[in-house]
């Protein structure tokens, strides 16, 4: 029995036993290589779950849907290691209760889907080591190094060109598990911090703020990068901020659910070489 059938059965039994009220997984998509999120509330619906190497989305974003978990019932969700990382971050930020999330974990290695053992986030004790050992895509690292080596004028020109493509669709925000604010700063209009029109200044401000709000919180799932319709290299900027946080504070987001969020904590010994 393949992992797809195994998890289908497991989802069906979780639903029929009443242990969970909902299972979030993947169904067939509009084309052969796409998968669509599928929400099953009955064992019959669970028959449609698909699990293969095209299931790359981070479904943890659906868990922070307003009102979903307020009834105290459990929800099961298909998650890759980056999804587990998001769950840890959300728990650390008090957005989830660990006991409300049942995990159907899987990893995609060389195009093959492998099951992960553990059903509760506390079972994945080696996640922190895995995160620290994971190397980011070499293309992203090289590009970040290339930009770091530029003069600030060149960097400004590079990002100005990238951000000028932005159409302010906020797909990056909608798809991100960490963007759960009920009222996003960009929607605040008194005072209006960020110009909402899609001109370059507004785009610049929006993208700076988005990147800053994800610094030390990004699970590096790449969902924003895939969602961006104009291909702004969001993964690049997120990677660079994650690296900064790791270098400065030895902090990797989502290692475990007991972590204190990096910008909501401090150490008296933090470096301050730049402060006069």
């Amino acid at each position: 029995m393949g992992i797809q059938e195994q998890y289908r059965n497991e989802a069906a039994s979780l639903l029929s036993s009443g242990e969970v009220k909902l299972v979030i997984g993947f169904g067939a998509g509009s084309t052969a290589d796409r998968r669509r999120p599928l929400f099953a509330c009955t064992a019959a619906e669970a028959e449609q779950f698909v699990l293969d190497s095209a299931c790359i989305a981070n479904l943890s974003a659906y868990l922070v849907t307003e009102g979903l978990l307020t009834d105290g019932k459990k929800v099961a969700v298909y998650l890759k290691p980056d999804g587990l990382r998001s769950i840890n971050i959300l728990i650390a930020e008090a957005q989830l209760k660990p006991e409300q999330v049942v995990i159907l974990g899987y990893a995609i290695e060389n195009g093959e889907v492998k099951p992960l053992t553990g059903r509760s986030i506390g079972d994945f004790t080696d996640l922190g080591d895995r995160i620290r050992a994971t190397t980011p895509p070499p293309a992203v690292v090289q590009e970040a190094e290339r930009i770091d080596a530029m003069s600030s004028d060149e960097r400004f020109a590079f990002w100005k060109e990238q951000f000028s493509k932005c159409i302010k669709c906020y797909a990056c925000r909608q798809v991100c598990p960490m963007c759960y604010c009920r009222r996003c700063i960009v929607d605040v209009n008194q005072p209006q911090w960020i110009s909402t029109s899609s001109h370059t200044l507004g785009n610049f401000e929006w993208n700076l703020v988005r990147a800053f709000h994800l610094a030390g919180r990004c699970a590096a799932c790449g969902a924003c990068d895939r969602a961006c319709p104009v291909n702004i290299p969001l993964r690049l900027i997120n990677y660079r901020m994650g690296k900064e946080v790791r270098d400065a504070f030895d902090y990797c987001a989502g290692e475990n659910s007991g972590q204190k969020p990096v910008l909501a904590s401090y150490s008296q010994d933090d470096s301050e070489t730049f402060i006069l």
């Binding site: 100005k160 800053f212 900027i237 900064e244 400065a248 401090y266 402060i275």
Partner: protein, 149 residues
Amino acid sequence: MSEPFEPKIVAFVCTYCTYAGADLAGTSRLKYAPNVRIVRLPCTGRISPMFILKALQKGADAVLVSGCHPGDCHFSAGNYHARRRWTVFRALLSFTGIPDERIRFSWISAAEGAKFAELINEITEDTRKLGPFEQYQELQKVIETQSSY
């Protein structure tokens, strides 16, 4: 002949240390560059990165953020939190091409009126050399010309 460039500098300061330091500079009759606009806030922990972006949006050529020395915060830990935030925000600004010289950070206590005066003079001179922050102000101009339709 066009007027010489006078940099616009916005200083976000905490009320307990740097503002008191600036006050001391004044009461000590120290002379310093009049290019700085001081915005007083309760604590450096209250200084949101949005303030810095807003200052740039409104045409500042340089921004100074200043508060109590570590350990001296009136609220015990506001400046420690702020320090982490700035470390990250500064890296972000630098990565996106906003020069480090335009965004400055300092600790100035209520006793350091002279340090405040010197720092303002230094930033003003440095910014004068850098010239106006045209790259960023250009972005604002685009909006103003577009807003006619």
